[in-house]
Symmetry: C2
DNA sequence: ACAAAAGTGTTAAGCGTACACCCATGT
DNA sequence: ACATGGGTGTACGCTTAACACTTTTGT
């Protein structure tokens, strides 16, 4: 939007932040990857990530990086793990790309990994730095730069644990109006197992924060499904009670 | 590869590791703190922690630091969160102490915090670097160096979540033979709430990996309690089944 | 009429919770 | 004998899991 404050920001070339953005696309759990196709000759995919600035904290860095590399804002990012093996920056091609992109000599880098979920239909911007961002199924990943394959593996496990603690994150995957089947599929993809249809309806109703709308699916070659929506106010009320135990 | 033979360890003055070692002492959840009482005039307490070496990974750094500052080895350490606010190294006294101890000029430092549990009766060594290590109740902490108060707060919350995922960590708090009451007290301290005695017996038996010994308490002015022990083999069997779901 | 997915209820088993008394030991 | 903590069983409510048929819509 406005010019970035690059002129005043000094990079801190020892710590980076990487963002693992997950989404459900065509019934598959996918991760957003940036493709390297600049003038330099290194080819490949990597997580959106960058060195941090001297003056920003880690959470701020994560938000900034996500915005810069995908155009997405107001996505709730969660720090989940740091990766600091000295061997993670030993691949020559990887380091070559990074030094070219940052205009800095880099040695060892510890990276703090963040996690966010995202509606599949959100459009990501391409920008000057990465030509293209792609949603790639986590089961069909190519070899990525640095240790990004390991980071994604850890992120998927972290999401499963996170869902139990903070169920609302599921709705970050979904459009604001969704059918029961869409919601159930999302859970099935996160947990990687089938769920019983009738039990799922019952459970969903017991939550209390998923409310029916008057809108119905249209143009489907079978009985049309009702759209539901997530009610943040009811969710908050229910969860503030629980945590006061 | 070619620089593998370096014997001198070089500090990496941008990233540190701090270890939050928790234990139950006299029915209180306590944290191990190092007291600063060197020749320099800064007084205070801090978590055992240090800058990492250029050539070690984060897990190795955590083990090394714990060993160096307390003499403890073979303690399972778990990375739980990183702290990187630029403001964490702005207190003049804190920075003065660190520069004195490390013989390096330090600016911003991102720290990766590790967590471990420990049997209360384990003796910690004093060493040349810290005169004394103290177990301090987490509810009665003085102001610590840097943001170590925040780190400990986060660690206590992390332990509670961790217990549900990996129940065996509870036994890191306990001697190898323990009574049901000792075990129950430990849970009560971790969860910070009273548990029903009969229900606790029932639950403990249902676990299957806590087995009775033939030994009984002696010299107590009331009916003597039976000692139990944790059976790692049975635990493993039960938990490998669960995770294969 | 047929294909395709939506929607709906009951039963049984397991789990958590609440609750009160007798037992063994040292003084 | 008394004080102290150890050890035990039952009943209720809630949650989970298994399971099959009718409804609606488009072609």
């Amino acid at each position: 939007m406005e010019t970035q404050d690059i002129h005043v920001e000094i990079l801190y070339p020892h710590v980076s932040v990487d963002c693992v953005l997950l989404s459900v696309v065509e019934d598959k759990l996918c991760v957003l990857l940036a493709e390297l196709t600049r003038e330099n000759d290194v080819k490949g995919f990597k997580l959106p990530g960058s060195l941090i600035y001297e003056t920003e904290n880690l959470d701020q860095a994560a938000s900034r990086i996500l915005k810069e590399s995908t155009g997405l804002t107001r996505i709730p990012l969660k720090q989940f793990q740091s990766f600091g093996d000295p061997a993670r920056t030993t691949n020559k091609d990887d380091v070559h790309w990074l030094e070219n992109a940052s205009k800095l000599k880099v040695g060892r880098i510890v990276t703090v990994a963040y996690l966010a979920l995202c509606k599949a239909r959100k459009r990501t911007n391409t920008n000057e730095r990465y030509n293209t961002a792609h949603w790639i199924p986590v089961d069909e990943l190519p070899r990525l730069l640095f240790d990004h394959n390991d980071i994604i593996k850890a992120a998927v496990q972290a999401v499963r644990r996170w869902v139990d603690v903070e169920p609302k994150i599921v709705f970050d995957y979904l459009p604001s109006k969704f059918t029961v089947t869409e919601l159930r599929r999302t859970y099935e993809i996160i947990y990687d197992k089938k769920l019983d249809v009738r039990n799922f309806h019952k459970k969903m109703n017991s939550f209390g924060y998923i409310v029916p709308t008057n809108e119905m699916e249209e143009g489907v070659p079978h009985r049309s499904a009702r759209f539901y929506r997530f009610d943040p106010a009811k969710y908050k009320k229910i969860y503030s009670k629980l945590s006061n135990n």
